[in-house]
């Protein structure tokens, strides 16, 4: 998806500079350079994409220049042994944890959407103040969160403008295409902030890690909330699945969602039975969203050890 603000005016040398440094792993401690590169990648510029592909191939060829050594046989034996143990619960074979139909709840709570919006804005302000004065080591992460939340707020305000009656005809797709309404999603989202076990998980785009997406996970609330901001660029005609991994075992499907249109809540919520998780990822469904899908992973990220509070 091409952005109007693409990099067609960016000097090619800059693209090559950043691409080469990126594939060599030399940008890791250069936060500004990394962000600059990520911004360029997100622009969807075809020149950059082609350059990056060439650079990746060349960097992979560099691996061949290393002195060649035969790996000890014990590695393969142990690998296959571990795989054998995992075989019973092979990746992506687990039954997806499907969302209960939220239609009734949506109808019941639809009228409270404006209340939810107000609470959301209030909490956002409090959160902003709290995080701004803390200046902790998590400042960078918090700033990312703030930016995402501010965008969500703008989006929410726009979507809620005069939509009280329109909502009656809206078919919400927030979770599994039949997810909770905007107000319910927001209620879950607010409740998560009251729990000190909540985790802010930053998902990086896969495989290059050039884009970010934020997710909140609260074991106490048994809820996962996904900010839709960075999902807008995704193909609206496809179905996506949120996965979680626990204890190094096979990924578990949390639920499906779509990113189409203004009908959606800016926050996607997923009820979950998980008490803990190691990582989350988002994949594109290869089929129609059925049970045994193995789409491509487009975002993935590890759960940080401490909460966001």
């Amino acid at each position: 998806m091409l952005d109007d603000q693409n990099i067609t005016d960016t000097p090619r040398e800059l693209v090559e500079d950043l691409s080469s440094a990126y594939v060599l792993g030399a940008l890791n401690d250069d936060e500004a350079g990394l962000r600059e590169f990520e911004a360029l990648v997100e622009s969807g510029d075809p020149v950059l994409a082609a350059t990056l592909e060439q650079m990746l191939e060349a960097s992979a060829a560099l691996a061949l220049a290393a002195p060649q050594f035969e790996p000890p046989q014990s590695i393969k034996a142990e690998l296959l042994s571990r795989v054998e143990k995992l075989h019973a619960t092979h990746p992506y074979q687990e039954e997806a944890v499907r969302q209960p139909s939220p239609e009734a709840a949506m109808l019941k709570k639809r009228t409270r959407i404006f209340i939810g919006t107000s609470i959301f804005s209030g909490l956002l302000l409090c959160l902003l103040l709290a995080l701004n004065v803390s200046k902790s080591a998590k400042l960078d992460r918090s700033n990312d969160l703030m930016r995402a939340l501010l965008k969500q707020t703008d989006s929410l305000r726009q979507e809620n403008a005069g939509t009280s009656t329109k909502m009656e005809n809206d078919s919400l797709h927030s979770t599994a295409e039949t997810g909770p309404g905007v107000d319910q999603a927001l209620s879950h989202f607010f409740a998560m902030f009251s729990e000190n076990d909540s985790r802010l998980v930053t998902l990086a785009s896969s495989p290059l890690g050039t884009a970010r997406q934020h997710l909140f996970f609260s074991p106490k609330q048994r809820m996962i909330a996904l900010l839709r901001e960075n999902l807008k660029a995704l193909d609206a005609n496809k179905t996506y699945t949120l996965w979680a991994t626990v204890g190094g075992k096979a990924p578990i499907a949390i639920g499906n969602f779509r990113v189409d249109s203004k009908k959606n809540s800016p926050i996607l919520t997923f009820p979950t039975k998980l008490k803990t998780a190691d990582s989350f990822s988002i994949s594109i469904e290869s089929g129609n969203g059925g049970g045994n899908n193995r789409g491509n992973v487009i975002f993935t990220g590890e759960v940080p050890p401490k909460g966001i509070n």
Binding site: A58, A60, L64, P71, P91, R294, N296
Partner: protein
Amino acid sequence: MQSTSEKLKNSPPTDAVLNNGEIRSVPKMRIDKEKSNREDLELLALISQGDQKSLALLYDKYGRLIYSLTLRIVRNEEEAKELQQDVFLQVWNKAGLFDNERGSFVTWLVTLAHNKSINTLRSRRYKKSAQEAKQDIGDISHEATIDHHTPLREAMDNDERRHVLSALEQIPEQQRKALYLSYYEGYSQSEIAEMLGEPLGTIKTRMRKGMMKLVSLLRESQPT
């Protein structure tokens, strides 16, 4: 039965008709890579269905490449063993999610192994001195291949490796050094600049020119 690799080795170069009607020979190495990638995708499809034999085949094909890379970077056998397992376990876990449109499997596999190795290296803050690193510049293009592998795949690997080493030798030493310190030693651009006593911009330029030269050399002089 003749293996796929053997068939590839014995097959004649394929000709392609260009838009202007000109007939140009398609480099054999490129055909090998495309067929190899198709084989990989077939194995990945089977792995995603829980076929452990396919994982073993994929390991046989790339195990040495990945182990050699990780060992070269972390320079510690135990860590290299762990990384080797991590990488192939990830292949097992993510086989069904691999997106071929984003690049070949081997590129993804090597990038994964490289990232894990560099992370390991940095996490234990293993830093070599600039002098040691400088000493190793020559090693990269002169270290002998250890020929323990017997299948014909070995011959292909060696062809490709010689091709890469030859390309690296054609890159100016300062540029090669910048690539080497970054890719194998895990140093950032600013660290390399400090280590070599050069401006950061100079290091960036060397990396860019070195990589572009490598890309160009790898493309223009395909081995037969």
